[in-house]
C-alpha cells in the first residue's frame, strides 16, 4: 500500500505525528484508479452487447469471489465449502419462484441473503472454533452434506436435473428480461456495486482492521482482549449472505438452477479466482474472476477437452511468480513507476 511513500525523513515530532495520523485518516478515501474497473464494466455493456449473459455471469462470480475475500483475504479463514452459501442463495430464489410463486427479483436477493446468512451464522458458530486443515475439511463436508440433502429430496430440489424454466418478474415491474440479457447485466452490476460498497466499508472499518489482526496474529488478538470467535462468526455470516446474493443472481440470470451449484468445483474455482487476482485486496476478486472466466470461455472453445490445462498453467505461474496475485503485480508495477519518477 502507501507505506513506502509516507516514509520520508521526519523533521519534527509534531510533523511526523501528523504524517502518521494522516496515513490512517486518509486511507479509506476513494482513489481515482478505483473508478477503472467500474468504467470498464460499463464500457463492456456498450462494446459487447451480444455477450451480456456471459458478462452477467462474470459479475456474479466477482461478487462470489468478493465474499470469499472478506473471510479468506481479510480474516484468514480457509474454506473449501463456500459454494454452500452460493447454492443456498441460488436455491432460495429458485425454490421461491418454483414452489411459492415468489418471482419478484429484488426481494429475492434479500431473501437469499437472509437465508444464506442464517446458515452461515449457524455453521460458523460451530466450525470457526477450528482452524487450518480441520476447518478446510469441515467446510467441505458442509457443502457436500447440503448437496446430498438436495439429492435426497430431489422431488423438491429437482436434483441434478435442476429447477428449469424459472420465470421472474420484470425489475420494478418495468424492465423485462430480454434475450440478450442487457437488463440483467445492469441489474447485476448495480447489485455488485451495492455489495462492493458494503464490503469496502467493512474492510476499512475498525472491525475490518480487527479481522486483519486475527489473520496476522490470533494469539495477540486474544491477549489484547478481542472476542475472536464473535468477530469470525460475524464476518462469516456477512460473507455467507453475500455469497447467497451471488447465488441468487446466478439463478435469476440463468433462469434455472441445479445441484451442481454446491459442487466442490464451485468452491475450489472461486478460491482459484481469488488467489489469481490477489487475496485481501478488494479488486483482486474483480481481476481474478474476470481473467479466469474469460480464459475459461476462450480456452474451452479452442479445446473443449484440454482447456483446464491452460487454467492450471496460469495458476502455477501465479503461485511461482506472483504470490500476491495479479493485483500484487499491479501494485509492484505502480511502486516501481513511482520510484523511478522521484529518485
Amino acid at each position: 500500500m502507501a507505506v513506502s511513500d509516507t516514509m520520508t525523513a521526519p523533521a519534527k515530532p509534531a510533523a511526523s505525528r501528523e504524517q502518521a495520523a494522516n496515513f490512517l485518516i486518509k486511507r479509506h478515501r476513494f482513489h481515482a484508479a478505483e473508478a477503472l474497473p467500474w468504467l470498464f464494466a460499463i464500457a463492456v455493456y456498450f462494446i459487447f452487447p451480444d455477450r451480456m449473459t456471459f458478462g452477467s455471469q462474470v459479475l456474479v462470480m466477482i461478487m462470489f469471489a468478493l465474499s470469499l475475500d472478506l473471510i479468506l483475504g481479510y480474516a484468514g479463514i480457509v474454506t473449501l465449502g463456500h459454494a454452500a452459501f452460493f447454492g443456498i442463495g441460488a436455491y432460495t430464489v429458485g425454490l421461491g419462484a418454483a414452489k411459492l410463486g415468489w418471482t419478484e427479483p429484488i426481494s429475492g436477493l434479500f431473501a437469499a441473503a437472509i437465508v444464506a446468512g442464517l446458515v452461515g451464522f449457524i455453521t460458523g458458530w460451530f466450525l470457526l472454533r477450528y482452524r487450518g486443515l480441520t476447518l478446510l475439511m469441515l467446510t467441505l463436508a458442509t457443502a457436500i452434506m447440503l448437496q446430498e440433502a438436495g439429492n435426497l429430496r430431489s422431488d423438491i430440489s429437482g436434483g441434478y436435473d435442476g429447477l428449469p424454466g424459472l420465470t421472474f418478474d420484470p425489475l420494478f415491474g418495468k424492465f423485462d428480461y430480454d434475450l440478450y440479457g442487457h437488463t440483467y447485466y445492469i441489474y447485476a452490476l448495480v447489485a455488485l456495486a451495492v455489495v462492493f460498497y458494503v464490503v469496502r466499508r467493512i474492510v476499512y472499518s475498525p472491525f475490518g482492521a480487527a479481522l486483519t489482526g486475527i489473520r496476522e496474529n490470533v494469539r495477540r488478538m486474544h491477549a489484547i482482549g478481542s472476542p475472536v470467535h464473535r468477530r469470525l462468526v460475524t464476518v462469516y455470516t456477512i460473507a455467507a449472505a453475500i455469497a447467497g446474493v451471488a447465488g441468487a443472481l446466478f439463478t435469476q440470470t440463468n433462469a434455472y438452477v441445479t445441484l451442481t451449484v454446491f459442487d466442490f468445483d464451485n468452491s475450489a474455482k472461486v478460491m482459484v479466482m481469488l488467489i489469481l487476482g490477489g487475496t485481501g485486496r478488494l479488486y483482486g476478486a474483480f481481476l481474478g474472476a474476470a481473467v479466469y472466466m474469460i480464459l475459461e470461455d476462450h480456452l474451452s472453445k479452442m479445446s473443449p477437452t484440454f482447456w483446464q490445462f491452460g487454467i492450471g498453467l496460469l495458476l502455477v505461474l501465479a503461485v511461482l511468480f506472483a504470490r500476491r496475485g495479479l493485483m500484487g503485480l499491479i501494485e509492484d508495477a505502480g511502486r516501481y513507476i513511482a520510484k523511478r519518477r522521484q529518485p
Binding site: 507505506v3 509516507t6 516514509m7 521526519p10 515530532p13 511526523s16 505525528r17 504524517q19 502518521a20 495520523a21 496515513f23 490512517l24 485518516i25 486518509k26 486511507r27 479509506h28 466499508r201 467493512i202 476499512y204 472499518s205 475498525p206 472491525f207 475490518g208 482492521a209 480487527a210 486483519t212 489482526g213 496476522e216 496474529n217 494469539r219 495477540r220 488478538m221 486474544h222 491477549a223 489484547i224 482482549g225 478481542s226 472476542p227 475472536v228 468477530r231 460475524t234
Partner: protein, 263 residues
C-alpha cells in the same frame, strides 16, 4: 485493600508432568515483583495460567478481588490484565501505528464498528501516537513491524501492553534477544512504568531484577521456592545453589517439598 492480582493454590498438569505446583502469588497495587528461576521452572506457564491461555488443573486466579479463573483470556485482558510475550507476538504485516490502534480499538470496543472508517476517530490515533511518543517510536509509526530491528519490535510489544491501560502488567523477559547496546532503552521504559500498575516481570538478567524489583519470587520445578526482598534473595544460599548449580539436585528436590508447605 484487595490485591491487584492474587493467585491461590494454582496447579497445572500436562499428563503426568506437574508443571505448576501449588503456586501462591500476590501482586498488590503498584507492586514491582520479579519472577525468577532456572530454565523450565514453569515461569511462562504461570503467566499463561494467569492470563487464561491455559486453564489450571486446580486453584484460583483473582483480579482486583474478582475470581477470573473461568473467564476467557480476552475478557481478562479487557478487565485490565495485560502481558508481553517472550517471543514477539505482533501484527508483523501492519504498521507500528496500526498495531497500537488495534489494541486501543479492542480496549474501547471501537473494533465492534463495521461501518465507520477506521481513521475517523482522531482521539484514538492521537492516543496511539502518545503511546508511541513516550517510547520514542513515533518516527517508526508508519513502518511495518517486520521491517523494524528486533529491539524496536520489543518496544512495540511493550507499547501494545501499555495501550491496554492495564492494572496488572506481566512482562515475560522484555529484553530477551535484544543486544545489550539497546536493552537499556527497554529497561528504562520498564523502570519508569506508571507506579499504579502492578508489574510482574520474568527476567534472567539479575542486574535488571535487582534494579527493578521490590520483591522477588523464585520458582523452581513449578513450585515457589522462596520469596522475599532483593536483599534476602541475594543472600539466600539455597537460591545461589539453584542458580549456580553447586548442588542443584538437592535444591530442586527441596523445592518439590517446599511447594506443599507454601500451599
Amino acid at each position: 485493600m484487595t490485591a491487584a492480582l492474587q493467585v491461590e493454590g494454582l496447579n497445572r498438569n500436562f499428563g503426568a508432568l506437574h508443571v505448576t505446583r501449588d503456586v501462591n502469588l500476590t501482586l498488590e497495587r503498584g507492586a514491582r515483583r520479579a519472577l525468577i528461576g532456572p530454565n523450565g521452572a514453569g515461569k511462562t506457564t504461570l503467566i499463561n495460567l494467569i492470563t487464561g491461555v491455559l486453564r489450571p488443573s486446580s486453584g484460583r486466579v483473582l483480579l482486583n478481588g474478582d475470581d477470573i479463573t473461568a473467564t476467557s483470556q480476552a475478557l481478562r485482558a479487557r478487565r485490565g490484565l495485560a502481558r508481553t510475550f517472550q517471543i514477539n507476538q505482533l501484527f508483523r504485516g501492519l504498521t507500528v501505528l496500526e498495531n497500537i490502534v488495534m489494541t486501543i480499538g479492542e480496549r474501547d470496543g471501537e473494533n465492534n464498528n463495521l461501518w465507520r472508517p477506521a481513521g475517523a476517530k482522531r482521539s484514538v490515533i492521537d492516543e496511539a501516537l502518545d503511546h508511541l511518543e513516550s517510547l520514542r517510536l513515533v518516527d517508526d509509526a508508519l513502518r511495518l513491524v517486520r521491517e523494524l530491528p528486533y529491539g524496536r519490535q520489543r518496544l512495540v510489544e511493550i507499547a501494545m501492553a501499555l495501550a491496554q491501560k492495564p492494572r496488572v502488567l506481566l512482562l515475560d523477559e522484555p529484553a530477551a534477544g535484544v543486544p545489550s547496546s539497546e536493552s537499556h532503552l527497554i529497561l528504562d521504559v520498564v523502570a519508569s512504568l506508571d507506579p499504579d500498575i502492578a508489574v510482574l516481570i520474568i527476567e534472567h538478567d539479575m542486574d535488571v531484577v535487582f534494579r527493578f524489583a521490590k520483591e522477588i519470587t523464585v520458582l523452581v520445578q513449578g513450585a515457589v521456592f522462596t520469596q522475599g526482598t532483593p536483599d534476602e534473595i541475594m543472600t539466600n544460599a539455597e537460591v545461589r545453589a539453584v542458580y549456580l548449580g553447586e548442588d542443584g539436585h538437592t535444591a530442586t528436590q527441596k523445592a518439590g517439598q517446599r511447594g506443599s508447605h507454601h500451599g
